[in-house]
């Protein structure tokens, strides 16, 4: 079965239905889950550890472990939460193995600049694209100033839309701790960006009064 066919069929079923089929030994069902979740898992790994190749490895290993352990998945949590937990554990292992905080590398090439469909307006000029690429580089640097917990919390909340309770379950910490990490992490980010000449308030109001000429991208 082709990837396109797999994706189309997968769209018709919920995660829970696909998991139930995968448990019975149907590899196509699991492949449909991969089609659905490989991008979010890769994005999570990339934003947490900051290296594309390692993020790919984490992504692959996440699905490998999920496939091996799918029969033990009893549906206590959402399938996506289970995947996120596996991926975050792998990211944590990677960071400890490397004995350093995540290495966040700015996107260098023009082709690495995220496409307009993600985080950009529908009509984007070349200048907008350049500005957004520069802004992404500054954010990457600012993110590297956060602790692993703060960065993970912001990534899960801001880019994956998990609820505070889901993040607390993933990080095995109280709800209040998640909110504190988020607030403090955002405060650190704001300070880092301001040091780089990016003023969030100006961005919100659409005021281009930033030293680097960044504009609001949403």
């Amino acid at each position: 079965m082709s990837t396109a066919q797999t994706a189309i069929i997968g769209m018709q079923r919920t995660d829970e239905e696909l998991v139930a089929l995968a448990i019975t030994g149907d590899p196509d069902s699991f492949n449909q889950l991969i089609v659905r979740w490989e991008r979010p898992i890769f994005a999570l790994a990339f934003r947490v550890i900051g290296r594309e190749e390692d993020a790919r490895d984490v992504c692959q290993e996440t699905f490998f472990r999920a496939f091996r352990g799918i029969k033990g998945f009893k549906g206590q949590a959402k399938f996506s939460s289970w995947l996120y937990r596996i991926a975050l554990n792998l990211c944590r292992d990677w960071i400890r193995r490397e004995r350093r905080s995540a290495v966040l590398t700015p996107l260098e090439s023009e082709t690495d600049t995220p496409p307009a469909s993600e985080g950009a307006s529908a009509v984007e000029t070349a200048e907008d694209r350049t500005v957004r690429r520069d802004l992404g580089r500054v954010i990457t640097e600012a993110m590297s100033a956060l602790s692993e917990d703060q960065r993970t919390t912001i990534v899960l909340k801001e880019y994956h839309g998990l609820t505070f309770q889901e993040i607390a379950d993933l990080q095995a910490c109280p709800l209040s701790t998640v909110k504190t990490r988020l607030y403090q992490g955002l405060t650190v980010l704001r300070r880092q960006l301001e040091n780089s000449g990016i003023h969030s308030g100006a961005l919100l109001s659409g005021n281009p009064a930033t030293k680097r000429g960044a504009t609001r991208t949403t």
Partner: protein, 253 residues
């Protein structure tokens, strides 16, 4: 800047920011923001920061991970990708230890351990006299090979157990625990081999000594018998007989 004494705390502010606050809390925060410029600015800045963060997007490499059946994929030896892969790895390790045991029992290498590291010398090989001596330099690698290039085989891993005769392999001080255990096994095997060889040698020496003692006793008996048969007339003949006997025994030995 207007700031009231009942400012919203961080948890409520992030609830409000991410729209997870319940209706009652939201109404209370709205009312507070109308009179507290400090909190309003704080919230305004955080909302702007959220907008800024959306410029940070990951690359989009080709992923395409898929589950395929085992028959579709050729097995790659040494690929560590699951619980089943450790078995052949350990099997190789056990086989390697056995090979080392046999090899060391045959060649009986000498092992020296000191501050400079571990030196394994195998008798029966002398360095090529035509080759100029090599400068010893401090190597950054945990394994340093010493000797001619084509004769050396590192023994730092089980795969390197095929040590060629005359190989002189030196390890740095930074080997791992598994390598240490492996070397300990090799040392034990060598010690057992030496003990066996010593025991065999002792038995053979004892046997030789016993044969020599028996022969000496036979010689003495023969000499006594000859001297008893000798009389005055035959003294000269007896001496020649004795000398002849002694020469014959000597030639036999």
């Amino acid at each position: 800047m207007i700031q009231t004494n009942d400012c919203v705390d961080q948890a409520i502010l992030v609830d409000y920011l991410y729209e997870e606050a319940d209706r009652e809390t939201r109404l209370r925060v709205d009312a507070h923001l109308r009179v507290c410029e400090h909190c309003a600015n704080d919230l305004h800045t955080l909302q702007g920061l959220r907008g800024t963060l959306h410029a940070w997007a990951p690359p989009k490499p080709a992923l395409g991970f898929r589950v395929v059946s085992e028959t579709e994929v050729p097995r790659t030896p040494g690929l560590v990708a699951g619980s089943t892969s450790w078995r052949p790895v350990w099997g190789l390790a056990v086989a390697a230890v056995l090979v080392v045991a046999v090899a060391t029992a045959i060649v009986r290498p000498e092992i020296e351990v000191g501050w400079g590291g571990l030196v394994v010398r195998v008798p029966g090989w002398a360095p090529d006299a035509t080759e100029p001596p090599r400068e010893r330099a401090v190597s950054a690698s945990p394994i340093e090979r010493v000797g001619t290039g084509n004769r050396e085989t590192p023994v730092s891993s089980p795969s390197g157990v095929g040590t060629a005769p005359g190989t002189d392999v030196r390890f740095g001080a930074t080997w791992s625990a598994s390598e240490e255990a492996w070397l300990q096994t090799v040392r034990e095997l060598i010690r057992e081999s030496e003990q066996r060889q010593t025991s065999l040698l002792f038995d053979r020496v004892q046997a030789v000594e016993q044969r020599v003692a028996e022969q000496r006793q036979t010689d003495l008996s023969e000499m006594e018998r000859t001297f008893r048969e000798v009389d005055a007339e035959d003294a000269e003949f007896a001496k020649r007989q004795l000398l002849e006997y002694m020469r014959r025994i000597s030639d036999q030995r």
